[in-house]
Symmetry: C2
Subunit: 249 residues, 2 copies
């Protein structure tokens, strides 16, 4: 067990409201086991969005004709569909009751990442943060200032995947580390040069957060200790494949 | 840190040859820190394939005209392209120098998962195991028999993803646990019913293995301790989206 990766969920974070300081909440939740150099913090996007006021009361939304038609046909909530369309820069697929969009950030996901809040019985929608990389950087810098420790921050959301069932957590935003471990041109223990091998470590760290935080417990963040990341000024935007390299548009 | 997930790579596993017993190798590598109830074993597909003799010497492969044309155009190895085409039941995309296929198992991945062996300087290709779920079940049963402990086994490979850069480790085969944590119809702490939320935990566990095993170290397997999985007779095949539910064919 000479080197291991450990991850635990932060519990006891109260319901987050617009204007709350995430750094305060994280520091409160890590009082017993303080953050150390080498740790990585993963935060679920929902508390970031809530702190930034990215919520919309559904009764304030007037759906367009397109959203109403879609919702009628597939028995969906037209107001949620409307929000998803507003947050999209492009509809990728809109069939079989599933709405896949490319968000303004460039994420390809269901319903533009618009989700119901789990607070008030489903009357409020939570949108994705406006700029998850900026949100991650803010929290990262704030923790550095207050703790004197470099702790990379990843903001995560669960995404569906083409061809595979189930959701997996992925990185929406990142600060303080390289999101891709790039092995290209490096040699493995046999002296064999590794080609075309860049690993999306930020997504794999987000996936670990998915395991640690679960869905039913109120654990909107977790700490990962022991993963040897590379420092860097990367953002999660680097994980978005560019149009010209994409085979699935 | 009341409940945490820990993962460490198994090192010291020698080069695997056809006919080797994976159970022997795993037991050897876990002597110091024996497997316990609650542990999950993740094994990289390459050592499974090698143990099962799923390797092909490249100089024994005669490429078809199609493979040769493709390889010429994109400066690829025609013999590798030939193997990828033979392992495919369908070509999904074949452009920009990237060959994405649906394998006979149903995985959608680059080059049908055919990879160069890192042993002999690139003269041998490693194919995917014929039936990774069966391989996982065998190893799972063998460990149960010899240790008297229930240890789920996941066989993992790194896959590219549409729209996102970098590879992420995913589950090819699985035995001894449910691969999807299905929250549908269950209630979160606010009493809010979770809809359409099934989490691909086997893929997230594979992703953690990707972090722990890395690419440059010779660590073809890892142990995950502390993740509360659900026992079940699931296989990784459940993670393959059925044609009628797929929006991207």
């Amino acid at each position: 067990m000479k080197s291991s990766i450990t991850c635990w969920a932060l519990t006891g974070i109260p319901e987050v409201r617009a204007g709350d300081s995430l750094a305060d909440l994280i520091l409160g939740a890590t009082r017993k086991h303080p953050l150390r150099a080498g740790d990585i913090l993963v935060v679920k996007h929902k508390i970031v969005a809530k702190a930034e006021g990215r919520t919309v009361r559904l009764d304030s939304v007037t759906p367009s004709a397109r959203a109403r038609r879609w919702a009628n046909r597939w028995q969906r909530d037209a107001r949620l569909a409307e929000l998803a369309l507003r947050e999209a820069r492009r509809v990728v697929r809109m069939k079989k009751g599933v709405l896949i969009t490319e968000t303004r950030h460039g994420f390809v996901c269901a319903n533009s990442g618009v989700d119901l809040s789990n607070v008030d019985g489903g009357h409020t929608a939570v949108l994705l943060p406006v700029d998850p990389d900026r949100s991650a950087r803010r929290l990262h810098l704030s923790l550095k200032q207050r703790l004197g420790v470099h702790v990379p921050v990843i903001i995560a959301d669960s995404f569906g995947r083409p061809w595979r069932e189930g959701l997996a957590e992925a990185a929406l935003g990142s600060a303080g580390m390289r999101v891709l471990a790039d092995y290209r041109g490096r040699r493995d223990p046999h002296g064999y040069t590794l080609h075309a091998t860049a690993e999306a470590v930020a997504d794999e760290l987000a996936a670990l957060a998915g395991l640690a935080c679960g869905k039913l417990e109120r654990a909107p963040a977790c700490i990962i200790r022991g993963f040897r990341y590379e420092r860097g000024s990367d953002t999660a935007r680097r994980l978005l494949r560019k149009r010209e390299r994409d085979l699935f548009r």
